[in-house]
Symmetry: C2
Subunit: 103 residues, 2 copies
Amino acid sequence: MDLVFETLAEPNRRRILDLLREGERPAGDFVSALDISQPGVSRHLRILREADLVSVRQDGQRRLYRLNGARLARIDAWLAPYRRFWTDKLDALEDHLDRETPQ
Amino acid sequence: MDLVFETLAEPNRRRILDLLREGERPAGDFVSALDISQPGVSRHLRILREADLVSVRQDGQRRLYRLNGARLARIDAWLAPYRRFWTDKLDALEDHLDRETPQ
DNA sequence: AGGATATATATGTTGACGGTTATATAACGG
DNA sequence: CCGTTATATAACCGTCAACATATATATCCT
């Protein structure tokens, strides 16, 4: 399944990924960070797991979540052919600036 | 509003953007391409407009849609701090290969 | 074993979303 | 003007996603 975009559409899930950039974290961290109920967080974590955006490992009674960046490369790949649509704009701006202040 | 991710979650809308990479297109093009009704397409176009992902200009009785790449830069910006999470992997792979075939 | 803690699952409600059909608006051609 | 074409809006409907509460599971500790 390729539900990366759909998974990333949810703000709470993006927030979870943001937190995971700092490293492995137990599920409870997200509960205190996210202002939704514990089952709600658990549900989002399950969706992130199913989308293979995160992985888990057991650590005692906690479950430590880790970011799986590889999956985000798919977004990057989708974005690639669009990149010229804003880098071109930057190039044009640079050209403009070059002309405004020609050394 | 910053609903870029939410807007991109819908496959038909992504398809529309894909088609727009080739250049300006009238709304009718998407109707024949998308296998949903004309009003359905029109709705998606409105959402893309509201997300500022596309712009329109009148051309006789048609309306020509154009891609607005600048908005996608927001996705790119969000993605940026994650990039190391898969480029690191590639680096590691390269290191590994270097060791496997040293010279 | 039993209590406490951490996390997941079950269940039910609700609002938003995407689809359709019907209709309105607007521009063109005769 | 009138009919046609192109597109948007209105109204309605079914589905699904996200939330909460309640409960189950699993692990730790004593």
